[in-house]
Amino acid sequence: MQKTIRLLLALGLAALCAASLSAQSKRLNFYGWSEYIPQAVLDGFTKETGIRVNYETFSSGEEMLAKLLSGRARYDVIQPNDYIAEALIKAGQLQALDTSKLTNLGNILPEFTGMPHDVENAFTVPYMVGTVGIVVNTEKVTEPVTGYADLFSGKYAGRIVVLDDGRELATAALYTLGKDLNDFSPANLEAVRPILAAWFKQIKLFDSDSPKTALIGGDVDLGLVWGGEAAILWDQDKKFQYVLPKEGAHLFVDLLAIPKRARNVENAHLFINYLLRPDVSKLISDSFPYTNPNGAARKLLTEAQLANPASYPKTEMKLDTFRHLGGDTGARIDKLITDLKNAN
């Protein structure tokens, strides 16, 4: 009995040490959006390099920011969106990329370089670009829906799904007021409150992870969703039409970056370079049909994919990106949304 217990203890300690020390150099801790990278891509990377990818997910940029800044978890590659990356760069939380290791960087189309959040492209690499717009199940909804006014007119109360993203919703309300999308002055925030309060009464579901599920299931007939989700719906059934709201729409850029406290920087660069390959980027586009910033990958896409109005919307509207809001503006927006959600 004594000997068995000693043996068990020794094994336990050995397992603990082995698990935490071994394969440290053959690992990559990747912190990304839920449902944004196909398992096949991760497995392909492991097969080529032998590096195992540990994939952790978040559902909102703010969640990622909080975990990165306050936690002790050390991620090697993260997937921030544009304004979060801007905040991280300003806070000195990102490492400068070693562009000599990123040989495929030239594949990125020039229109997606030099963007305001990272003008010199020193810290981030574009992953996927997209829009947020309105998707309509035209079988159930016969009138045309062209913008937020139509969507929240009251006719479709209880049949709408929206993203569970405070900033997206607040920006949508700002658009209806005709304001600039990044102008969250206290006066604007107060003006936005009654608009959102009226909207929230009509919303059935808040879902940032997979809003398409509710639309496919028929639980809701309209949605304010990510462009890629709408593209998947369009591929499945052409009854799901996607429209950019006429009051205003924005572009979002999801990026890859390496946090300052990353352990496996070498592996991180290998991974980013791998994702920039046209064949790999095409695989990502196949599963998640957002706007692909990789020019070489776009050449590999099919006609149908490039014609998808939700993936590559044709519009004359000027699409800006979100900028980092300093101070406590983010917290105030969050408080507003939480208050309104609780009020219902």
Partner: protein, 272 residues
């Protein structure tokens, strides 16, 4: 005079009504608790991907389960973490129970209460406080932090199981061992521990099950390389329900029930 047979076992009418009401109520409660689980298990054999309407019988989701590498990896992590936590919980729980039973401390009551707090504390409070603690002490999240967290809330269960057994233990056993020349440590090791074995195993099974099922505390104390199975399942469920999750849940339920039954059997054996 004819001898009357003994009255049938049934109680008189008023009590009979009460009896039937009790049976009815128990049935309702059991149905409420177990019907969803039964449906979950039955639908794990459904061939439809959307899993809303029954289509046809199939085992394919169980097959897909074993090929899904994130699930297998996180299962491996969960098993390692649960095993190590159980070992530490058993050591801490058994020695703690013995010390509290055998020796007199001034604050024994307070210690007992403090030790049992992790059992009832809301998991999110524990999770956040541990995260704050690890941040303050500059420990990186990973296997060590998860094991510490799991051991903390598992060992009170072991301790309580062992303490229950110790109540029924004859104090003369230890005295006899000491009389025969053993040191207190040897007496504990060679005489007491074998008596406690059923309680220890029962507590260990409880600890293992709890550690495997733990989600909230794991979220706050893991890093991507030590992601546990419940976390992976939670992530997958957020995206949309998948029959693979039904299959996984069915396996989990069967294993957990087996463990609990075994643990209960041992406890009953040891309480004699």
């Amino acid at each position: 005079m004819p001898v009357t047979l003994a009255k049938p076992r049934f109680p008189p009418s008023g009590l009979r009504l009460l009896n039937w009401s009790l049976i009815a109520w128990t049935t309702v409660v059991f149905v409420f608790l177990y019907l969803p689980i039964a449906v979950l298990v039955v639908y794990s054999f459904n061939s439809s991907r959307l899993n809303i309407v029954w289509e046809a019988f199939t085992f394919k989701w169980y097959g897909e389960l074993f090929g899904h590498s994130p699930l297998i990896n996180t299962l491996k992590n969960s098993l390692i973490i649960a095993s190590i936590s159980t070992v530490f919980a058993v050591i801490l729980g058994t020695t703690g129970a013995w010390l509290l039973h055998r020796y007199r401390y001034r604050f024994a009551r307070a210690i007992q209460t403090l030790i049992c707090i992790p059992m009832v504390m809301p998991e999110i409070v524990m999770g956040i406080s541990l995260l704050v603690f690890f941040t303050a002490v500059h420990i990186d999240l990973g296997y060590p932090t998860v094991v510490i967290a799991h051991t903390t809330f598992c060992f009170p269960f072991v301790m309580l199981a062992v303490q229950a057994r110790l109540q029924g233990l004859d104090p003369a056993l230890e005295e006899a061992a000491l009389d025969l020349g053993a040191t207190p440590l040897k007496a504990f090791w060679l005489v007491i521990v074998p008596c406690l074995r059923p309680a220890v195993i029962s507590g260990a099974l409880m600890a293992f099950t709890l550690s495997m099922d733990e989600l909230i505390i794991s979220i706050f104390t893991t890093d991507p390389s030590s992601r546990t199975l419940p976390m992976q399942v939670f992530g997958m469920a957020k995206i949309g329900l998948n029959p693979m999750l039904n299959a996984l849940s069915a396996i989990f339920i069967v294993t957990t029930v087996a463990f609990v039954l075994f643990s209960e059997q041992l406890r009953r054996m040891s309480a004699r």
